[in-house]
């Protein structure tokens, strides 16, 4: 297995200091990019690397960049999505806390490749530590001439502003993020016809990339597209739930789920068996042990009716009550719905009421059809992906664990022992 690239220095204290980063070859990729390469050449290298957006959608990064018009004299922006809040996902927070210069270097490379002179990092409001470390790292990088005017004597200018959010999952949706960055409520914008690449921040062309996506760029520049691809290409999987060694696992894209869970995350606690898992955050359809040999990549997970999403694997063992977990996810989307569109705002409330009834022992058999019906009516009708994220796990749970719902309804009680005690 190749050595990790992005997480190699995780856990090393003082890594937010620029000297620590420079000592291990930091800013070499950006230096090479600005001094020796044209913007077009960088786009070409990134295209050859196969890098796909790591925010969840997996859109090819170079293609996104190419969609951004580069008209002379027109303002263009780079916006970093650091609003990581998909349940189960913690790779971006880890990158920001443990090695923040990687992403900053990525910003410099992406800004130069797109000839952007102003970048905004939209950081999740609750990331107190990440904000502190990133701010310090940015101040150091400015002081050493990696940001500001005439960077490295190349004549390229770039100003970076770190912008703290204030607690709203919806702002991870790219157009809601832009609204929020413009000082408004985080309501998503209509798309199509205009995507942020064409009409983004202040209606100007905007490159919008995720934290991890940008953190890959320095490595792509230093290793070259082929050298980088030899690492997998690498992906950061966030593994949590009922595993012995949860954490960010940097592995080649397409590592089988079984290997990720049992070799890299330490497997389950003694005596426990696997019941189900979310392969891509709570927006992905849950899958079961029969899917363990599936490679954790975009296509393979889509084929079994789920998705890679933000590559957040939440593992559930046999002590898990599935209806209770799905109730939690429904409540999450209910609380985080921005309220702009009816299917999401009302649908999540209705679903949540039905779950309350079932789990309080007052469920009716026809509630199962009701849940499925509401979920089906939300599919394809919500204004943005927030509402669309509710049905997959719910419907998958009805498919795989219908008997468990029926038991709750028939017996008015759960037949699963309570979840693990805290600290177990």
């Amino acid at each position: 297995m190749p050595r990790p690239l992005l997480t190699r220095y995780f856990g090393q204290p003082g890594r937010e200091r620029i000297d620590a980063y420079l000592e291990t070859g930091g800013y070499q990729g950006a230096t090479q990019a600005l001094r020796d390469l044209t913007p077009d050449k960088i786009v070409e290298i990134v295209e050859a690397s196969g890098l796909r957006g790591r925010g969840g959608a997996g859109f090819p990064t170079a293609r996104k960049w190419k969609l951004t018009p580069k008209r002379e004299g027109e303002d263009r922006y780079l916006v970093v999505n650091g609003d990581e809040s998909e349940p189960g996902t913690f790779k971006d927070r880890s990158l920001l806390e443990y090695d923040p210069h990687q992403m900053l270097e990525g910003i410099l490379i992406a800004a130069y490749a797109n000839q952007v002179h102003r970048a905004f990092v939209y950081l999740r409001g609750e990331f107190f530590t990440g904000y502190e470390r990133l701010s310090r790292a940015l101040a150091d990088a400015y002081a050493r001439g990696y940001f500001g005017k005439n960077i490295l004597g190349t004549g390229f200018d770039l100003e970076v502003v770190i912008h703290r959010g204030a607690g709203a999952y919806i702002c991870g949706e790219e157009t809601a993020l832009l609204e929020s960055l413009e000082g408004r409520r985080g309501f998503p914008r209509q798309k199509p016809p205009y995507y942020p690449a064409v009409k983004g921040l202040y209606s100007q062309p905007t490159v919008l990339n995720n934290v991890e996506t940008l953190a890959h760029l320095p490595h792509i520049l230093v290793l070259g597209a082929d050298g980088y691809r030899a690492y997998g290409p690498p992906v950061l999987y966030s593994v949590s739930g009922h595993v012995v060694v949860p954490g960010v696992k940097e592995l080649p894209l397409g590592t089988p789920l079984r290997e990720i869970i049992f070799e890299h995350a330490g497997g389950l606690r003694p005596g426990r068996t696997l019941k189900a898992l979310f392969p891509g955050g709570s927006s992905s359809a849950i899958i079961t042990p029969e899917h363990l040999n599936t490679p954790a990549d975009f296509e393979s997970l889509a084929k079994i009716g789920s998705m890679l999403g933000s590559s957040a694997i939440i593992v559930m063992d046999d002590t898990t009550c599935i209806p209770a977990v799905i109730q939690r996810t429904v409540e999450f989307y209910r609380d985080e719905s921005c309220g702009k569109c009816t299917p999401c705002r009302e649908g999540t409330i209705w679903l949540s009421q039905v779950f309350d009834r079932i789990l309080a022992g007052r469920g009716r058999m026809e509630d199962l059809d009701l849940l499925d019906g509401i979920a089906r009516n939300m599919t394809g009708t919500c204004f943005c992906l927030l509402g669309e994220s509710v049905p997959p796990s719910l419907r998958a749970s009805l498919r795989y664990f219908r008997a468990e719902y029926e038991h709750h309804i028939r017996e008015g009680a759960c037949d699963i022992r309570a979840v693990a005690p805290a600290g177990a």
Binding site: P87, G167, G241, H242, S282
Partner: protein
């Protein structure tokens, strides 16, 4: 009319506004600055923010009430946020939350009568590898148990 915000805060807000092509973009950062002064956003503080950024009070309030981190009432001196999302749930956050409620004598969203602690149950804090996770003010605590939390609360003052 007397200002709710200090001169320092108003200067900070003017500085924030200068960092964006459009001053309104500084609204959320400015609200953070305003909230840092009194622990919450009073109507006077929001009016000051609005004036600094050229926005009517209604617009400022509309935004302030959308985001969970802004408080329109004075909170406790300490802010305890416990994640109740899936990974924390799978690792026993409900028992920890129950313990907190009993110990503090409040429910999530409430503040102790002495004004010491505000307790909030929150959504995924993106630290699932540390589940169950609690944020006490700006500091995150990993794999918390009832006992660990008792110690932490003890030391809060």
């Amino acid at each position: 009319m007397a200002r709710a915000l200090s001169q320092t805060a108003l200067e900070e807000i003017a500085h924030l506004a200068s960092r964006y092509p459009v001053a309104r973009s500084a609204l959320i950062p400015a609200l953070h600055t305003a909230q840092a002064e009194a622990g919450y956003l009073s109507e006077g503080a929001m009016a000051d923010v609005g004036e600094a950024l050229g926005l009517p009070l209604t617009e400022v309030m509309s935004v302030a009430t959308f985001y969970e981190m802004f408080h329109l009432e004075p909170p406790g001196r300490h802010h305890v946020r416990i994640c109740i999302n899936i990974s924390c749930y799978l690792n026993g956050c409900d028992q920890v939350l129950e313990h907190l409620c009993r110990r503090l004598g409040i429910r999530p969203g409430e503040t102790t009568v002495d004004g010491r602690v505000t307790l909030e149950s929150v959504q995924c804090l993106a630290a699932c590898e540390e589940a169950p996770v609690v944020l006490i003010n700006a500091e995150r605590h990993a794999r918390v148990t009832a006992r660990v939390l008792d110690d932490l609360l003890e030391r809060l003052g």
